[in-house]
Symmetry: C3
Amino acid sequence: MADPRFFKAAGPFTLKGLAALIGAELCPGASADATFDDVAPLSAAGPRDLSFLDNKKYVEEFMTSRAGACIVEASAAESAPDGMELLISATPYQAYALAAQAYYPEPSFEPGVSPSASIDPSAHLPDDCLIEAGVVIGPDANIGAGCRIGANTFIDQAVVIGENTSIASGVYLSHCLIGARVLIHPGVCIGQRGFGFAMAASGHIKVPQLGRVIVEDDVEIGANSTIDRGSGPDTVIGAGSMIDNLVQIGHNVRLGRGCVLIAQSGVAGSSRLEEFAVVAAQSGVSGHLVIGKGAQIGAKSGVIRDVAPGEKVAGIPAVPVKEHFRQVATVKRLASRKGR
Amino acid sequence: MADPRFFKAAGPFTLKGLAALIGAELCPGASADATFDDVAPLSAAGPRDLSFLDNKKYVEEFMTSRAGACIVEASAAESAPDGMELLISATPYQAYALAAQAYYPEPSFEPGVSPSASIDPSAHLPDDCLIEAGVVIGPDANIGAGCRIGANTFIDQAVVIGENTSIASGVYLSHCLIGARVLIHPGVCIGQRGFGFAMAASGHIKVPQLGRVIVEDDVEIGANSTIDRGSGPDTVIGAGSMIDNLVQIGHNVRLGRGCVLIAQSGVAGSSRLEEFAVVAAQSGVSGHLVIGKGAQIGAKSGVIRDVAPGEKVAGIPAVPVKEHFRQVATVKRLASRKGR
Amino acid sequence: MADPRFFKAAGPFTLKGLAALIGAELCPGASADATFDDVAPLSAAGPRDLSFLDNKKYVEEFMTSRAGACIVEASAAESAPDGMELLISATPYQAYALAAQAYYPEPSFEPGVSPSASIDPSAHLPDDCLIEAGVVIGPDANIGAGCRIGANTFIDQAVVIGENTSIASGVYLSHCLIGARVLIHPGVCIGQRGFGFAMAASGHIKVPQLGRVIVEDDVEIGANSTIDRGSGPDTVIGAGSMIDNLVQIGHNVRLGRGCVLIAQSGVAGSSRLEEFAVVAAQSGVSGHLVIGKGAQIGAKSGVIRDVAPGEKVAGIPAVPVKEHFRQVATVKRLASRKGR
């Protein structure tokens, strides 16, 4: 069970209530009114817990689990241990995510403005926001209803923030328009000038960076990530994109809807990722490229050419993932040969 | 045009005024007194805008651009569309940078000290500085004239900052001497103890780090980058160096004048980069190396040997860039061979 | 000598006093009562300084050094220049670290709470702590005796911090239990929700992250590093582990005692590093792996399989380090062949 000092559980829920919440089916003969207190992984779950099976690798754990209830695909139902209640879903992990959200909803907050916050009188700030200690909000900033702004965060002049957005502590926002229901983790920096200058032996000459950052609705941005504003065009983070920690986004980058950028990856200036593209950890995308819809870039790769929609690439430089594995195997084989 | 909520344009300027500002020549018959309101890229520019052509790839855009005026090399003049005014420069991008700086000068600020700043009475702080909310300045710190210190930034005891330096929000400065006209982006950490310890099975033993960080004049340091202080010698960032976001500089590193370190790159302890060396994104330089003047390290490379002045290297481990491309091509060829 | 504006030396110490402090032996005939003022590297040390020789590469520097005293292995004693006092140790660098700690002890501090700190009345805060300006401490947080909390740091509700822990400026702590004598550098983010969601074309569905971060005693965490809380299990950083700057630790990662993670490295979710494992700079460890006790991962490597205790690996994907060198040599040779 989650540490009650940090988490407050909202259960119990009935089996039928859960089914409705997560869009799952009850099995014939299920105890629709049975209640369950909490969510837990198969190995840790007990009779009062709801769990899930999403991966065939864990079927054995499933078959011996003590979980009181479990979300599974229909095909797994016959393997369930005696007495386990089942919720049938075509997408058990998605269904589990919804159940876990019901058990552990985002904590609510008491609106208010800390006396130690510094808010410019020209800023727009609805009454139902929580502004924590040390927050600084500049002139003409426009904060949406229901926002929570964490301690010591800085919001520069004219920044716009949509409704129900949550910004953690120590965040920096300038030259940007942030959407609704966005989650920004601590230490994130958005809107500083991009890395634009004319190189010259007499001293590099800075090029003013005249664009903004547009963060669309439902985006999440991980701790200490950095997003530079555009140089003239805007930098755009598409709706529902998930950005992990320590990620770098250069000026003029455009992410489509639902992109996923995993920890310590980076996208260089003016590249465009179409919707649902995935960049795995510690990978880099060079500047001025197009990464197609649903393309996937393997971890620690370096992409220097456009990637077609749906294509999976890996390696430095990145090539189609099958070719990458062939390259790795070839080098391994050649290096191990007798009589090299 | 730049979003007026975030940017204030200073134009219009006359063609001859611009020529003087940026060191360009008017063409014979140019309308020296014609005025232009703004800067814009070729594709977006209109009749009231100044643009530039720096790269042959964009000649076609140039030939069809609606820009009222354009900075070009002399050789491109004959391709200009009818009615476009030309400013002739041997280095159009540098000239454009200067023009853009004239159109969008750094915003001025009203000096003053926020009532929520905490400034030690022994710190030296000229009247013409702007100290934003929540700034903390320690004993004996010495701030230069005309500095701007952003909200919630921490400046530790005895830190020295030169004139007209601009430090963003949420910055940490300790054990360092910062030059004049330096630009430090949000979340930067300078002067924390380096990663120095004697490894021991009974528990690693920390080695006191007794040096400083010297940041020379006109340096720019990107968001959330980290620069450790020296272990005994100093860590030095040479004048005019440009450091991008999320860059790591280890203890005792010395950068010469005008070095360029692109996003998420790192330089390990005691390495020295001579002037105008370039380290591309996500690359690493091992410890105790010398990277020669003007050397260039390709993106995502790992440098484990000295690099000669002017040399271009790439790969893990980094080799001369031609050899790197040959290696990549060789592996590709061998992996694709029939009958492997 | 260290800049007295930033460092305060505690010497002089007598030779015999030093020997006792660092567990070294005096040579027969040594001047046990001679005093030395400071520590310095061999090349910079003068007659009033203590230095050390730990690496045969520096024997020549040792033989011509002007250092008044030097910590050496017994075998090096006969090479010492005339007049140099010697302290004999089997582990000179460890001994030097202890001596340097004696000369430059951690600065003490005056306890107190800045008037601009915001401390929830329900938080437990001993009188001997120093709480700097702008610190925010949430409800039910529990701070240990002798802690120092730097300016503008945020400590969320119910966080527990052990005795004599030092937390720098601009740090974010939530959902975590921090041990004693921990050192957390500026900009570190600990305890934010991990990168957990069910991918779905209709929009990714976030999975509540219900674990904590446990940071055991004597850990050091470098500037701007990020450690996500567990998804259900905890994320654990073992006692005495040393984490450098800009390191990413994913949810559910478990580090054993004394692990070393060098700058810009990352460990993905649910991987486990056994005690004294080392991950060099810019390397990544994929999720759900086990890295054995004392294993070493070379710089810029990508680990996608378990690593056995004591094994040294390198490369992308990482292989045993000898095989890696063979692979690098093979590619080099094949790429340079005449008549390819």
